[in-house]
Symmetry: C3
Subunit: 390 residues, 3 copies
């Protein structure tokens, strides 16, 4: 009787579909945040990342990550496609943070390398065939759906990219930080909510099995904790900002939710409701605190990706070490996981981006930035019929 095989296949295909709903999620979020003159280019990057990273992963990366792992509890192609659905996310995190000044061509080149090699390497040593087993870098980290493997990975690559590419023209001038408001708040909201919903598949599907009473309970627990941490992150970020400014800041509330969602991603399958509230709540506050700090050190990240994904990817992974009630999980093991992935991803990404940048500069010229990348990179205005105030 193949009952488990069948229902797991359906379950993982359902989860995969939700994750791919994060493609429009990221696209709308970023299109809403950047200025209208860069909207088309940001959308193009999002679509190209899904296309190139997915192809790189199914043709090269998957084998690198999972080697000869036998998939027997569900249809192997459902598993491949579920894993494929993740890869673009890590790269989206990176591309969002260099928005409004990074050129599309070098980004797609890096996307290919990250989808074929860098991300699969991290999956390999975390969830896959583990080529660094019994080395200094051998990992013993609990990271259900990738607080570290996906979110920090994207974040470290982004940090490397920002250090090389620099900040947007005109963002930091004469010790002043120019505030750049989001151009389309409905799109920001739509995108963030699609990401939130996609996360149910992201984390829930990562349990990988629903074919027993215990497994079904774990899936339900995982999705419940995921949502709870998102709620807590939104609330804590919202309160923090309200107390300070007496205003409701929807971009911070949504980023707080995303921060909470990132933070719970490592441990949603093994924690309880109270843990999820605390982890998510702290996640939301970390976002609100981190955003101005990065600006202070002139690290220019238009979508707050470092605050949401890197900071909370680290926090969520460490939090598992603090809250998990399982002898096999240690705080040290979690910290080591964060550090190893961080060192590997940052150093590899920095090297590759540096190398690409030598013969094909990432940074758009000042003129191109001023008139917007839509003009220079795409030749297509995002909203050609609307008069603009700027």
């Amino acid at each position: 009787m193949d009952y488990g095989y069948i229902i797991n296949t359906l379950f993982v295909l359902f989860s995969m579909t939700l994750i791919i709903l994060m493609v429009p999620g990221f696209a709308m979020l970023e299109a809403g945040i950047v200025r209208t003159k860069n909207v088309t280019s940001v959308l193009t990057v999002n679509v190209m990342i899904y296309v190139i990273a997915s192809l790189a992963f199914i043709l090269i990366g998957y084998d690198f990550a999972f080697g000869n792992t036998q998939i027997t509890t569900l249809s192997p192609l459902a598993f491949v496609m579920f894993q494929m659905a993740f890869v673009g996310k890590a790269i989206n995190i990176m591309s969002g943070g260099v928005g409004e000044r990074a050129k599309i061509f070098p980004l797609t080149l890096f996307t290919f390398i990250m989808g074929a090699l860098i991300y699969p390497f991290m999956v390999n040593i975390s969830w896959g065939s583990d080529i660094l087993k019994d080395t200094l870098f051998d990992l013993n980290m609990h990271d259900l759906a990738g607080s570290t493997v996906i979110h920090s990975t994207g974040g470290w690559a982004l940090l490397a990219a920002i250090l090389i590419i620099g900040s947007r023209k005109g963002r930091y001038v004469n010790n002043q930080i120019k505030v750049i408001p989001a151009s389309n708040i409905p799109l920001v909201t739509l995108g963030a909510l699609l990401l939130w919903i996609g996360w149910f598949g992201f984390n829930g599907g990562s349990v990988g099995n629903i074919a027993s009473k215990e497994a079904a309970d774990t899936v339900a627990l995982t999705i419940f904790n995921t949502n709870t941490a998102g709620l807590a992150g939104a609330l804590s970020a919202g309160i923090f900002i309200y107390v300070r400014y007496k205003l409701f800041d929807i971009t911070m509330i949504l980023n707080g939710a995303l921060g909470g969602l990132v933070a719970i991603t490592a441990g949603a399958d093994i924690l309880n409701t109270a843990n999820s509230l605390i982890i998510g709540g702290i996640g939301g506050i970390l976002v609100v605190i981190a955003v101005p700090l990065f600006d202070k050190v002139r690290i220019d990240d238009p979508v707050g990706a470092l605050s949401v994904h890197l900071v909370n990817g680290i926090w969520g992974t460490i939090a598992v070490g603090i809250f998990a009630n399982d002898a096999a999980i240690t705080l040290l093991g979690q910290i080591k996981g964060v550090a190893v992935i961080g060192i590997l991803v940052f150093s590899i990404s920095y090297t590759i981006i540096y190398a690409i940048n030598k013969f094909m500069p990432f940074r758009a010229e000042d003129d191109a930035q001023m008139e917007g990348l839509d003009e220079s990179e795409c030749g297509i205005e995002s909203y050609p019929e609307f008069s603009r105030t700027i």
Copy 2:
């Protein structure tokens, strides 16, 4: 063998996901209907409602509603989260109708009380542990997914709120009704269609069980009837308007669809196709008739929530008494259900909103309304780069 437990868990998690897709659904619908100067505040309210109502429900409301009810046919946390997905809907109905003049802070306070107490109380006496059993208010109503328990509940709370908060500044002047066009028709359409799709989970998932041939047939019947009533409501509203004005009015067509969907929500599991066509078709016409009537009596409801949710919530519940072919369901029982919930929700909501309003006024000052709530409440413009005609 836990087959039923497993598949029901997957089924209810799938349904829950569809319901949560109604969060962006409501948000986009309302953001598209209101004027651009109020879009950010409306979106903020929608997100805050999801956050606060959900937390209030999982931490307080669920226990109140279901007490010690043992959930054994699926994973209990999947059931909790499915129930949680409903609570924000009732409050969204209320918040939408007071849009463009209600302040966010008092709304969030009321959201907490409604999510923790008012809505769970109605669930308790309708679907839950039934604390009013054998009292005068004992209910014997068939209301599958909440034509009354959710939609009328939201509608009665809204009516109470409008009576206290009043109409938008400038809406009714010198016996004239100022027409305020929707600011973004694509968002209205997107939102309404997401709600429509979410309804498949809303009603289908409320069957609660798919683990037998009969149960699977009931789920399919429920979703089929749901969609059919939506189709009929859209068509009847569209024809009604076309006959009268020789124009196609997409906002009325969509509201007609939503009216049909609300109306079928009480009985989608036990009615047939013809019933669904009639109930939905009348639902669409009721919306078209009710919208100007509310305006006539100076009840200002920017999104037509009373017409869609209250009027059709009542109609749909009574329609079950008319059309159902089941001795246990009586017209009187249905009417009593409508009346009891109506009296309870309206009186409790009125009292609480009145009390909150005393120390924390809901109504934004005239100046704030004129410049838009985005400025005064959020400090964030919705579309800062687009030149506006008004």
Copy 3:
């Protein structure tokens, strides 16, 4: 034990939901492509098509298509609703291509006839009770989810409509082709991505059965191939344009993806990854080549529907004959299928559109086209508060 019945019902309801997500998908795609003065009317047409085609199909068309076919492997109403979800797609293809000049009323009339008769007729002879069996038109074509039955059908009806209705006023003047840029790129992107995701249900659900190990593998293969062809189509279209213009053209990248998706729809269940890459890749290039060719012969198709759906519907169906490794599938059988459906749909559609056009002209008057159909057909502006540059 009804295990197969239950899980197939859930699987098909899930797939149906994804297909209905293509309703907002098409609506947003078209609303983003047309000029702002025609956005409301395009959205209205999309909603009306879903409403009227679905009603026509469930009340008339389904019986015509499937006759007394006994559905025993899943809940019959789930099957009906899954089939219903397809009908609007074929008509959306047609309506999109006559956008910005076709009036709504005659379009809805044709929608009714196509939903009740034309489309069900094609389903009948391809997948249904087969009334032309043993005639000259007897088909022996493998067309899993409708490269021909749905996409070419919509395309042939569109071609007939364009020949009768003509091009948009001002599109071809003095041997010049006026380029009309898309008015809202985020909506185009959102719409295309929703269509892409909906395709997983479109093709995956068309397998119709997930209740055995082999069936589950086929479903996974189908969805995997579907996505892979979409990726390949996007990439090939993107490269083609980049090589030629040194620009990234997101509308062509997205249309390339859709072209690949259309092309794989006939054979996604029986082909392999390499086939999918080739078929999808060629599909993307066909779109990029076909769009200017149709313009050259003055066939005015604002959304590129002929290039995406007709050209690739034909290509994908023939490709099955080329690549499939199955003695029962022949290149000749596939070509005959394409030809028979083409002749039937084009001739019937042409006749009916011609007849309707006699007493109720499809084409909006020049004045109405100049000021936009939103004004003349709907009386509702799409973005009334935004100043327009044109």
